[in-house]
Structures are given as C-alpha cells and as structure tokens.
Symmetry: C2
DNA sequence: GTCTATAATTTGATAGAC
DNA sequence: GTCTATCAAATTATAGAC
C-alpha cells in the first residue's frame, strides 16, 4: 500500500549512510523518488521523523537478519561480523547507527535515541552469548563499529577484515 | 602574531568535534570569536581550507603529545589509550579525525585526506611497536575509534574504558 | 497523494570602504 | 584586518489547489 513511503525510506537510508544526517535534503530525496519535496513532507512531517523512522527500521532489520542467520551450529560472533561486513561490501556504506552515533550531539533527540538503542541492543546481545561478559559486549561492538569507520576512512573494505579477523 | 587565526581554529575544532563538518558555519564561529564572518574568510578562504587546517593541526598535535608522553618504561598501548580517552573525558568530544572519517563521502577532498592520514599514521605507528603486526595496527586503531564512537553514542565515557581495558 | 508556490531562514562567499 | 552590505543558492516547512 505505502510503496512510496518505503521508497522514500530506502533513498533516505542510503543518503544518510553516505553523507550523514546533515548531508541530505527532502528535495534530493524527492528528485530521486520522482516526486516533489512537498510529497515527502506528506509522508514524513519533519526531517527528524524521517530519520528516526529509517533508524528504527534499520535496527529492526538488523535484528531480524541476525536471527535468520544464526543456526544451531553457527558461530555467533561470525554472524555479527558477517552482517557488519555485508553492508560495507555492497557499496562502502557505513553502519547507519554508527553514522548517527557520531553526529549525535546535534541530532534531534528521537534520532539519537534510535542510534543509542542499536548500540545498547548490540552490547546486550553479545553479552548474553555463552561465555561472554558485559565488557565483552562493549569491546566487540566497539571493534565492529571502529572497523567500519576505519575501512570507510581508508576507502578499503579489506581493512575491516584485518581489524576483525581475531574475532572469529 | 596570528592570535585570531588560532582562536578561529580552536572554535572550529570544538564545533566540528561536536557537530561534525556540516554542523558549523562561518557565522557561528565569527560570533563566538567576536568578529564578523567576513573576517573569518580573511583568515581562511573557504570552509574546506579551515577544516583541513584544523584536521592537520589535530594530527600533528596528537603525534607530538604521543611522543611527549612516551618514556623508556611506559607501555606504548597505554599511552595511545590515555590520549584517546583524554579528549573524551574533557567534554565528550569525539576524535576529530574519527568524525571526519565517518562523514567522508561528501567531504572536500583535502579534508578527507587529512583524516585518512591520521588513521594511516596511527596504524603505522602501532604496527611498528615491538611485537606488533600490521593487522594489530588496524585492529587497535579500530578498537580505539570504535570505543569513542560507542561512548559518545551512549553518553557515557566509562564505556570507552570497558571497551579498551583489554588493551593494557 | 501529489502538485505549485512561497515563506522564512541559513548558508558560503565576495566587493569595497575604512 | 575588520567592517557593512549583499548575493545566489539551498534549506525545512507550510498553504491551498487539484
């Protein structure tokens, strides 16, 4: 039913993950979707609403993909690593919540909170794996996000592999 | 002699580390320094020039502080950790080059390259420590940057400690 | 749901007086 | 070196017709 709404979110997600929160506009999104910016405002009242919706969807999708990927005999840490690496491999996109986390200090509250929740969920999930502590959760989430940051900065996805190989 | 120029760079650095590259303007800087935006343009022709100068200074200062801190019997990794942690403790500021690294895809080339150089220098320096490999360099830089990102997102500097305690 | 039109603001940057 | 004044462009957002 809401095909256009999803399409807007798709374009917004890619733009945020490429240029950051301050690096996209309603007009650019509208142009790419094939409508006018007023129509984007029909679907999302404000820029913060759109960004928060995109972040929430990203978080839920990540969780779902993780559940789908994990089987009885899979290495959980390997699943985490693969999921992060997947986004990077596609087209050098950074983790959406990592981007939002860094821009945190001037983001609308609702957007920053979605990014924050993503990090909290990740730490929590890893902490609850067999043989892992809360500190392990923070350490590994930091390693994965940092590896993305480094790979993106250097424009070389294999840096992610080097920086996370010890995890598996 | 160039007191104003340094003052402009100080304000710009804090603004970039708080709001990112797209989150500050010449007018805001001018207001805080106590001049008009045209005067800022006198010292730095373009926004990219200013950001690149700030990033270069940050990189050189980091290098100098590292050298100053390292003594014969100090643990090098501990120095690295302390330096990153120091910036965070002050007022929740993120590593300037980490911020720029994340916003990389649409930054002016000269700015992105300064951030890139910071990461390369860091990886290289750690790699050259006794008993460390190139992969260790990437792993530890990723860990430090990721720990800052995580601590900033959660608004809790102690997250940095948890995520990097294993390094020392 | 999408459009045209526009308001109100902010932005990076420049010209020229002093 | 700093100022006033200004430009051209872009931004988020809204009003109202269709």
């Amino acid at each position: 039913m809401s095909g256009k709404r999803d399409e807007i979110m798709d374009v917004a997600e890619r733009m945020i993950r490429t240029h950051g929160y301050n690096g996209f506009s309603f007009r650019e999104i509208a142009a790419e979707v094939g409508v006018k910016s007023a129509s984007v405002h029909y679907h999302f009242a404000t820029k913060a609403d759109l960004a928060a919706a995109v972040a929430r969807r990203f978080r839920e999708r990540f969780e779902a993909e993780l559940a789908e990927r994990s089987t009885a005999d899979s290495n959980p840490l390997s699943d985490w690593r693969d999921l992060f690496r997947g986004a990077l491999a596609d087209d050098g996109l950074m983790c959406l919540c990592g981007i939002l986390a860094v821009g945190g200090n001037d983001l609308p509250l609702e957007v920053a909170q979605e990014a924050r929740q993503f990090m909290l969920d990740g730490i929590d999930a890893i902490s609850n794996l067999d043989g892992f502590s809360a500190e392990d959760g923070a350490r590994i989430m930091a390693q994965l996000e940092g590896a993305m940051l480094l790979a993106r900065s250097l424009g070389d996805p294999t840096v992610f592999d080097k920086a996370t190989r010890h995890l598996v």
